[in-house]
Symmetry: D2
Subunit: 373 residues, 4 copies
Amino acid sequence: MTRHDQYNENVAGRANVEDTPELLAYYDDLKKKGAAALWTVANKIEPWEPRSQSVPMIWRYKDLREDVLRSVDLVTPEKAGRRVIYLDNPGRSDVAAAVGWIYAGLQVMHPGERASAHRHSASAIRFIMEGTGAYTVVDGHKMTLGANDFVLTPNGTWHEHAVASDGSPCIWQDGLDIPLVNALEANFYEVHPDLAQAVTHPVDDMTRTWGNAGLRPGTGAWSKGYSPMFKYEWAPTYEALSGLAETDGSPYDGILMHYMNPVTSGHVMGTLGASMQMLRPGERTRAHRHTGSFLYQVCKGSGHSVINGRRFDWTERDIFCVPSWAWHEHANASATEDACLFCLNDLPVMEKLGLYREEAFGDNGGHQPVHKP
Amino acid sequence: MTRHDQYNENVAGRANVEDTPELLAYYDDLKKKGAAALWTVANKIEPWEPRSQSVPMIWRYKDLREDVLRSVDLVTPEKAGRRVIYLDNPGRSDVAAAVGWIYAGLQVMHPGERASAHRHSASAIRFIMEGTGAYTVVDGHKMTLGANDFVLTPNGTWHEHAVASDGSPCIWQDGLDIPLVNALEANFYEVHPDLAQAVTHPVDDMTRTWGNAGLRPGTGAWSKGYSPMFKYEWAPTYEALSGLAETDGSPYDGILMHYMNPVTSGHVMGTLGASMQMLRPGERTRAHRHTGSFLYQVCKGSGHSVINGRRFDWTERDIFCVPSWAWHEHANASATEDACLFCLNDLPVMEKLGLYREEAFGDNGGHQPVHKP
Amino acid sequence: MTRHDQYNENVAGRANVEDTPELLAYYDDLKKKGAAALWTVANKIEPWEPRSQSVPMIWRYKDLREDVLRSVDLVTPEKAGRRVIYLDNPGRSDVAAAVGWIYAGLQVMHPGERASAHRHSASAIRFIMEGTGAYTVVDGHKMTLGANDFVLTPNGTWHEHAVASDGSPCIWQDGLDIPLVNALEANFYEVHPDLAQAVTHPVDDMTRTWGNAGLRPGTGAWSKGYSPMFKYEWAPTYEALSGLAETDGSPYDGILMHYMNPVTSGHVMGTLGASMQMLRPGERTRAHRHTGSFLYQVCKGSGHSVINGRRFDWTERDIFCVPSWAWHEHANASATEDACLFCLNDLPVMEKLGLYREEAFGDNGGHQPVHKP
Amino acid sequence: MTRHDQYNENVAGRANVEDTPELLAYYDDLKKKGAAALWTVANKIEPWEPRSQSVPMIWRYKDLREDVLRSVDLVTPEKAGRRVIYLDNPGRSDVAAAVGWIYAGLQVMHPGERASAHRHSASAIRFIMEGTGAYTVVDGHKMTLGANDFVLTPNGTWHEHAVASDGSPCIWQDGLDIPLVNALEANFYEVHPDLAQAVTHPVDDMTRTWGNAGLRPGTGAWSKGYSPMFKYEWAPTYEALSGLAETDGSPYDGILMHYMNPVTSGHVMGTLGASMQMLRPGERTRAHRHTGSFLYQVCKGSGHSVINGRRFDWTERDIFCVPSWAWHEHANASATEDACLFCLNDLPVMEKLGLYREEAFGDNGGHQPVHKP
């Protein structure tokens, strides 16, 4: 017989009702009517603080790269739809998420290949890890992409990825809110009627139009829920971070900049945010925690992060996650070179729904004790 | 051995890769590395359109009322925390939701009883179904409540419910976004240090201050993410609906008004919206469907709704749900009296995240064929 | 010969250049080139604080009413356009303003009369002072009006005023931003091609739709720069003020509410704001001053205001003005009855342009010394 | 005897009342009571369309430069406050404006000179015309400035201008909304207690922090009514315009970009906007007109503009104005070089107050007939 008092807590204001035969009969009766007694689950569904189902973990590029490349021989893009190896957090396998409600995968494409065009309610980014010649078409706008650049394919936009025939094999990280949009039961999917779209604007026109600091085009307006600057490049981002290297920055994040929608200065898309941060030579940040799910990719350098008391060493192209409300801190391993971390997150969701909260780690100079493995 | 090709679709642009021994070995290898092949789940996680896990259903008050009253004898408020029978949608039992990510329960309280004060990241409403003398205290503001009134206890506010000692036994419907806030791993819970709060403002002051059409108080400002008009009363709502009864209204909803935050004219809280609608004598609406989850309570009259082809007859105090993307239409059974439906929903979430979509039912004069039971 | 050093100030950081023959020749030379030396006017155009050109004054209804009524015999509405006596502040005669950039006039209309329909870039209100049967049509919406009600005829809307044939002679106060819009060189004027518009909506529909506290219509949206609640009535306004009579209110204004656009909770129109305030029995407020121009009309009771040290006694229907940055305080003459003041102002302009500033009068318990007349 | 019927128009809906002895006596009587008859001025204060008081004109740099330099010998900065020759539009001499409500002056400063620090409610820009070593300090932030750069000194900020001792004599154009803020009776002025402020941040930090396309700093927020990017430089602006040279641009303005507040993408300050536009080799725009006042400075190249039918030829550093509702079109004189025009305007005021309107010139292929001089 199922127990119904396993969540009891002996604390004033919390449920603490022991099962009795009479109550168990009552519970059975309620069940038949599509109902149940709150006090049997209240302490479970009203936890004192968030306990993420996601496991803090790292995916090392040296482990996965060969598998990703091997997929080229195993499946065709036509059969696979997209040739992607996705990051499958053990705590989130049921929803195919890397962390929280964020999906991520590594996709490989050879020169001359082009995925079929489609659109969906999920929002996506594509962050280039290696290779040349990658490009993406979004609603008729073509963007060329190099390493550490990323492109938006927002909610509802037709999009397709490709590699130019004079390029080299490309690997990139896809990041989407598919799990969230599924959970919210709002995902729609369409294959483009022609399986491909025409490029109807000059190459990189959206970045040329909207990617000028302090300048807004005199013609054209933009009121969609995502950034019109579809592509964000590495070179000016790194230059911007370097230009701030001598400022204090954040004790928890070093020098961090959020990629933004230039029209609103808000996040790049309605459900996904992104940032790039620099850990200066020798920099070790202090620990804090906050709500929201965070997926990091190492763009430059090496170092380690401590997440809920476990140490994860990382180097270029590794990917690791910080689940909601997990303590975390970062350290650059080099005393002479900076390290850079790209981060994909669901901060727009947390902020819009009024659920963002953060807290600093006070003890021990701001550093977590590290568990022995 | 687990199959990995059960989601295959033979459609251009969709995954369609058959299992082979080589691939199965590959999948095993990926699994060890915390990874998996997207094409094995792509068609599952990218559905053509939303398929809600919630079951359309109705909870009839005549079935539940006795059970609710009986809880008074079975458990004390001290032991139970709150004495609530919650609505347990069979498709959402794992998260204790009535529909989608919305929790709802029926709570009973006797004159002179007072629940302990607490606060949480979840947002809540309390909609009075029967009884007199109910009141709620929110951050020191006391609101008195009668039938069909409701009160907000927003995200982060200290709150407690009670019934005055000269009142009668009260039953109300609680509605919360607990399942959503848990899913987003952002729920915090605190019991008030004194288990009760002082009333520090004149009774009903927030409605007197903010509940005046077209008038804003000269002193005081409000920038919180929820309405300062904590209580919404039935009488002026019914009067407003009646005043519009001769306008066209909506073909899908009759005369519908959204309860709003008077400062922004947006929804009453950051994650939950509410509306009241009137079906005029003899009115039968046409079917449409949209994203978002909706929980109705019948405040006045009787009639029926058709949800995804099933007919649900309802009368006063019954509660029924419309899951995301389910076709639905309503009909008033009376040719002489109007019928009124209160509705709690997650429209703020859908709208803020850019996920709201709707569609009219085109065939058959806008009316669904009804399945035989 | 014109002096150019009359604004000199002997203060560090201020211009203090004495005329010399050489300089005067230089100034002459500049003048020919459409130029001049800043230091000759700097102290004039950069005053230490605002000095309003408007004179604080009162227009007593007992003095003006007969003149207003007499206009009926003197001119026809056809010849006059509108039969209005306007308030001509001696400091603002050049722009026909009552105070600052606000125009105001008293208009009279007999039963059965109807002014021709027109529209302009200026925004207007019409505040009823006496009579029955007045109504206004705004973009096809007809509003009926009684004493102390007011109606908006915003920037760009077709509008016309009339009195029903079964009404009585009506007098109302017009208030417009004509002087401002002229000064900004942005005023356009059109006579309606038919000289009258059809009423195309149910009477008072905009107030029935948008004038419900805490309720937003489910159909219809509103994004124009002015309130969709075209009419604001006296009865609910007075009731709202009375409901707050026991709160502290403002030390400078008693119980004051701003009329608001229910969609934004901002001011009723883009350039004009309005408020109603109650001075409780025996209430005497403290003095303060702020930028912006304010035109009061006494709706109920009697009392006095002290403006820049001059006392102005007022009774029902009197109109008085408070110029920008003028000290002012109010007192109710009655120990048993409340007094109510309607106020038309340009706060939207001050606030949008970042020019609002206020200051309390600190000395003498917050009360100005009153000059002997 | 003053006539009161000089504005009569014989048009239905307009005032058309002839003076009679009885009416003149009536007008006299009203005047004594601080009132007047609207119909005597209605047609004047409600014009059919705006008629600007400003005269379209050009200030040629070759005419003014010597005078500006000469001021160095004529007055000291200490005596003059600021050594500025201002542009005195003959139609706006009473308010010391160059056009509409915009003040502009040419200021000269020698190496090692530093103006005293002050602040005021007026907002200002400083646009560098020639010289090296210019810098400005705004609320403790120091900005270095070269030709065609400009800096903001917004409403309420402490600011001071200077030229480094190793620089060269500098001339720049000041642009302020002093006339507007005076007209709105909201101008306050303060001299800094020390006559100079300390530089409390790294040089150019605000541009380094906020002047990165598509990037928002992770620390620090900004909610003031003006741009945190205090300095806008010529080089990236010209690069941005060049990058769009092959797009269509605007038929009226060629390639035009508005300088923007990166936080809101709105105008740089609350009352003043600025733009830079490129006329491509051989480009001749079509005529249009709009409300608002516009002051142009030629940054590069030569050409001409036709304003209300008059042709104004311009070359580098010339300044010309386009009054409200004046027809205007521009032409680049060169078939091989582009020409660039900086423009200071009051668009924020027009837009916020709902007064912006524009109209294309339809006849003659969009080009005005040019009057013989």
